[in-house]
């Protein structure tokens, strides 16, 4: 066999060895390219394959009152999230999870939506404070691939509904909010952000910065281990904000209201002359705790279908005809323009009505009237006839001009979400009045309506209280604030001399001492104030009282309104009690004294003018909740 001769074999072995060398060189080259030249790229792919970044929620800053009492705090809770690589597998796990905790209804579609918007991070399924739920899930971890349970601080509002409209609430950011880059800068899908109230206004301070934790997951989505602490980016906690609120006073207002005015709609705002808000109360309210971690459908439906509209923040979002309290504005215009002094009497004494052209404008005191009054007396008795004539003396242009200067057609610029605060309504000029309402509505008779706070005039409680704070203080209307004055907030100088201011305060003291609020119990507090009863066509009357004390150097200004057909003099005692609670402190027995029930009546003459159908101003607007 020549083929197996030694020379032949040597030749073939050599050929075979070279072939092998070539083949192994090809393999070696392939590995060199993959493992040496492209190694960095493959290492990255490998890391991306199995590393998942899980956000660690930053604890939200606390909200405390002026003395450090907690309005909003955090307590330990859990968030349950799922990682998934495919939608159908996520859906299957959500369904399994749902069956494990029957009491919780999980919105599978919402989970899928969250996952779609950010596939690389675990999608939030629900938040819970119940350790038993978390324990159940941990037990079944084997059948719940991609389950991530994290300790996550949850929001709690110890005051519940008492502080509802003040703090607002927190909830998961929604895609529309994320699109607006300025609204929640730095927020990303799944983050908890403030909604309404202080929570949204100071969100950037409260929110802090989320951290990131890296975990390793298997091909099936099971978490295998957490990466070392050096890979974790620690969250930066949100900062605490200290408000000007006095929580005990706030609670006092709530308990007083619930005891004396149960079920009545309204609001109360207490502030200091410099703008610091002491109590901020709107009722009915929602319990902000219900919103944390997502409000239940039943709860939400109950809130939105309630005819009392508990979602309306009546301090800043409700607009009402200011009625008699506006007479102080008209008086200030007269004083400022030098048309009158505190002792000026009007040409026509009050006989219960005022004849203007062929129309008869009635005073609220129809039987006999008030007789001849000076300004002080007219304020004390809230005489309509006096202010009809003062209004005519001023003329429409002066009223519009001064009303605008005093801020009656702007926002109070309180430091709460400007999107929620309603701009008060007041004509800025005759032209704007005619433009907005049509020429047919204008007659000089409208001046008479405007003079007593009716007509095309709708004010928020916060704006009116700020005006009274100016009267109680140095005559400059400033933006009220809960944490700090809003930067760039407008100031409105009423243009009154200290003596003129003093004369108005004396008149308002007379309201309390002898006038329409004579039995409010505010006399010994040296309280001054003004009652009012606003009329909205087709609705029940609403009551105002704005008061402050002590009259010579006010410490507190309280504005209060009740929608339920009450009259101003009925609610004055509650304002007096609030002021007494503040001035005398919680331990004074007088604070607990029962409220005297009212007396003097003050009614706007219903038949005084044929009010055009839309002297009805702005029915209280319905605000959305998001």
């Amino acid at each position: 066999m020549s083929a197996f001769g030694s020379w032949e074999l040597a030749r073939r072995s050599s050929a075979a060895r070279w072939t092998l060398l070539l083949a192994f060189a090809v393999l070696g080259g392939g590995f060199f390219r993959a493992q040496i030249l492209q190694s960095a790229q493959y290492r990255l792919t490998s890391a991306n394959n199995r590393m998942r970044a899980i956000p660690i929620s930053a604890p939200r800053g606390e909200i405390v009152d002026r003395n450090g009492l907690l309005i909003a705090e955090n307590f330990p809770g859990y968030s349950v999230r799922l990682m998934a690589s495919r939608e159908d597998s996520l859906r299957a796990v959500v369904a399994r999870l749902d069956s494990l905790i029957p009491s919780d209804s999980i919105d599978a579609d919402a989970v899928i939506a969250r996952w779609r918007s950010a596939r690389h991070i675990p999608a939030l399924v629900f938040g819970s404070s119940d350790f038993a739920v978390v324990a159940t899930l941990e037990e079944h971890r084997a059948v719940l691939p991609g389950l991530v349970v994290q300790a996550e601080p949850r929001r709690r509002y110890p005051g519940g509904a008492t502080v509802g409209h003040l703090v607002g609430y927190v909830s998961e950011v929604n895609p529309a909010e994320l699109e607006d880059q300025l609204k929640f800068p730095g927020a990303s899908m799944g983050d908890i952000v403030g909604k309404l109230g202080l929570e949204v206004e100071y969100d950037s301070i409260l929110r802090g910065q989320n951290g990131v934790q890296f975990v390793e997951v298997t091909a099936r989505g099971h978490m295998v281990r957490e990466q070392g602490i050096d890979r974790t980016i620690r969250p930066v906690a949100g900062r605490t904000i200290t408000t000007t609120i006095d929580l005990p006073l706030q609670r006092f207002v709530d308990s007083m209201w619930q005891a004396d005015l149960p079920g009545m709609r309204g609001a109360l705002l207490a502030m200091r002359p410099n703008g610091e808000i002491l109590a901020y109360y709107s009722t009915p309210a929602y319990d902000p705790n219900d919103w944390v971690g997502g409000i239940s459908t039943a709860n939400f439906r109950a809130l939105t279908s309630n005819p009392d509209k508990p979602l309306i923040n009546r301090v800043i979002s409700g607009r009402y005809p200011p009625a008699s309290p506006f007479k102080l504005a008209v008086a200030a215009m007269g004083l400022k323009r030098g048309l009158i002094t505190s002792t000026t009497r009007m040409a026509v004494p009050c006989t219960g009505a005022y004849q203007f052209g062929n129309r008869r404008f009635r005073c609220w005191k129809r039987d006999g009237g008030h007789g001849s009054l000076d300004l002080t007396g007219a304020i004390a008795t809230s005489c309509d006839v006096y202010f009809y004539q003062l209004g005519l003396m001023l003329g429409e242009e002066a009223i519009f001009e001064d009303g605008t200067a005093m801020g009656f057609n702007s926002r109070s610029d309180i430091d709460l979400d400007p999107a929620l605060e309603q701009r008060s309504v007041f004509p800025s000029s005759l032209k704007s009045y005619v433009n907005s309402r049509g020429v047919n509505w204008w007659s000089r008779g409208e001046i008479l309506n405007l003079s007593i706070g009716q007509g095309n005039n709708a004010q928020t409680l916060v704006n009116m209280t700020a005006f009274y704070a100016a009267l109680a203080g140095d005559g400059v209307k400033r933006a009220p604030y809960l944490v700090r004055p809003r930067p760039g907030a407008a100031e409105h100088d009423l243009g009154l001399t200290p003596a003129q201011l003093q004369s108005l305060r004396d008149a308002m003291a007379a309201v309390v001492n002898t006038g329409t609020a004579g039995r409010s119990g505010g006399r010994e507090l040296r309280m001054a104030g003004k009652t009012g009863t606003g009329q909205v066509t087709g609705q029940e009357d609403m009551a105002w009282f704005l008061g402050f004390a002590p009259v010579e150097a006010s410490e507190i200004i309280v504005g209060m309104l009740v929608e339920e057909g009450l009259h101003g003099s009925w609610i004055a005692p509650h304002v007096a009690r609030t002021i007494r609670r503040w001035i005398l402190g919680p331990d004074n027995p007088a604070v607990r004294a029962p409220v005297d029930l009212p007396i003097t009546e003050e009614l706007v003459p219903l038949d005084s003018a044929p009010p055009p159908p839309d002297t009805v101003i702005a029915p209280p607007p319905v605000i959305g909740i998001n």
């Binding site: 073939r12 075979a16 192994f24 790229q41 199995r50 298997t218 281990r225």
Partner: protein, 414 residues
């Protein structure tokens, strides 16, 4: 008997077997449950059984093997036939439609293809040894092609493309070592080359011109030349037809070989994850048992077909070079044994073993880094599998025998 065990062969086999067990142990160390758990122990048992089998073969003379070759060959074919006609089932993790396991009454007895491989080597060697001269015409190649082709057709029917390629590897190794002229070998493979080049009309046209020139130069019989040329033409045109006849999983494997990114979630997933594991190994790897791709279950079949990805991830380029170096050393030793064998039969058998092992190593290692398409054949000494381990053991027993006979016969190459 005075025979000595081939010491270098012993060392390299021990090294490869130990490396294999170490890697299989690591394959079982995962964070997610896989079938790899504890396979290293079972592999050790198979290694022990293999040792006994190798010892038995070592005591058997090549004359006896030469006599027994037809019987073993026929037995292998019969068993393969059984798998095709209904006694076959898929292995763990392999496509359910395949039937490479001989299964009787639900019990999987083994993979007959491994017996068929070694029997085919013995049979081919017998056929060549019976001729005084190697075939020099294509017609003369028909019998060996039939010997390797019949089992290859049977495994194709299972269907198991990978193993069919192994029979081709065995055939070419033995043809080459038996002294068939390389030009004839080239003409023999020319239809396959034509098939592979058919995707590009330009390349295929060039190839047909080159083939024509080669036929003019080498001057085979006229009807053979015409036959080859026609076969090449037919292959080029039949490429699409052949494609259509392939099983879907075979098509997917070829498509994902060409473009794994497009098949990321399906068959492309395997190759991507395997390359990521190997690539992330770098120079020295992530360390024994610490491969994260493996630990988290991203490497498919990481204890069988893709076991080499674990080597690449945990031991890096250095570990890969070590493994490939050991294989190459083994092949060089086997070539040396084949060259010094005391008789042509033993020589051809041993070189057939080289062809068998090389095909397995090149195809398996090559597919882990996408040099070769995924065909799912095991890697000698590393992949877990009893039948295959026995095959390797038998082959090594033959090598020791051949080496010992060469020494004891006093034949020494100068």
């Amino acid at each position: 008997m005075g025979r000595q065990l081939d010491r270098p062969l012993m060392i390299v086999i021990l090294a490869l077997a130990s490396f294999g067990i170490v890697v299989l142990y690591s394959a079982g160390q995962t964070d997610t449950p896989t079938n790899a758990d504890g396979v290293w122990l079972r592999q050790l048992v198979w290694l022990g059984i293999g040792l006994v089998a190798a010892a038995v073969v070592y005591r058997t003379s090549f004359r006896l093997l030469e006599w027994a070759a037809p019987w073993a060959y026929v037995l292998g074919l019969l068993l393969l036939l059984l798998t095709v006609v209904g006694f076959g089932s898929g292995g763990e993790g392999s496509a359910a439609s395949t039937s490479s396991w001989l299964t009787v009454g639900g019990v999987r007895l083994g993979q007959p293809v491994e017996l068929a491989k070694i029997a085919t080597i013995l049979m081919l060697a017998r056929w060549f040894t019976a001729r005084r001269e190697p075939p020099t015409t294509l017609r003369g190649l028909v019998p060996p092609i039939m010997i390797a082709g019949v089992p290859a057709m049977l495994v194709m029917a299972q269907p198991d493309l990978g193993s069919a390629i192994v029979f081709a590897g065995i055939l070419f190794a033995t043809l080459f070592w038996a002294g068939v002229p390389p030009s004839l070998l080239l003409l023999l493979v020319s239809p396959v080359i034509s098939l592979l080049l058919a995707w590009s009309t330009a390349l295929w046209s060039v190839w047909m011109v080159v083939l024509f020139l080669l036929l003019l130069i080498w001057r085979p019989f006229l009807f053979e030349a015409i036959g080859i040329y026609l076969a090449n033409s037919a292959m080029g045109m039949a490429a699409m037809v052949v494609w259509g006849k392939m099983a879907p999983h075979q098509q997917a494997r070829i498509l994902s070989f060409l473009n794994p990114e497009a098949y990321r979630s399906g068959s492309g997933y395997q190759i991507i994850q395997s390359k990521v594991a190997i690539g992330s190994g770098g120079w020295f790897g992530s360390g024994f048992t610490h491969g994260t791709q493996k630990r988290s279950g991203y490497i498919p079949e990481h204890w069988t077909d893709f076991v080499f990805a674990v080597v690449g991830e945990e031991f890096g380029f250095v570990g890969v070079m070590l493994a490939l170096g050991l294989f190459m050393t083994l092949f060089f030793i086997l070539i040396r044994i084949a060259r010094r064998a005391s008789d042509p039969y033993a020589s051809i058998v041993i070189f057939g073993v080289v062809g068998l092992l090389f095909t397995h190593v090149f195809e398996n290692v090559g597919m882990t880094i996408q040099i070769m398409p995924i065909t799912g054949i095991p890697l000698p000494f590393f992949s877990y599998g009893g039948s295959f381990m026995l095959l390797i053991a038998l082959a090594m027993g033959l090598a020791f025998r051949a080496s010992g006979e060469a020494r004891s016969s006093g034949y020494v190459e100068s």
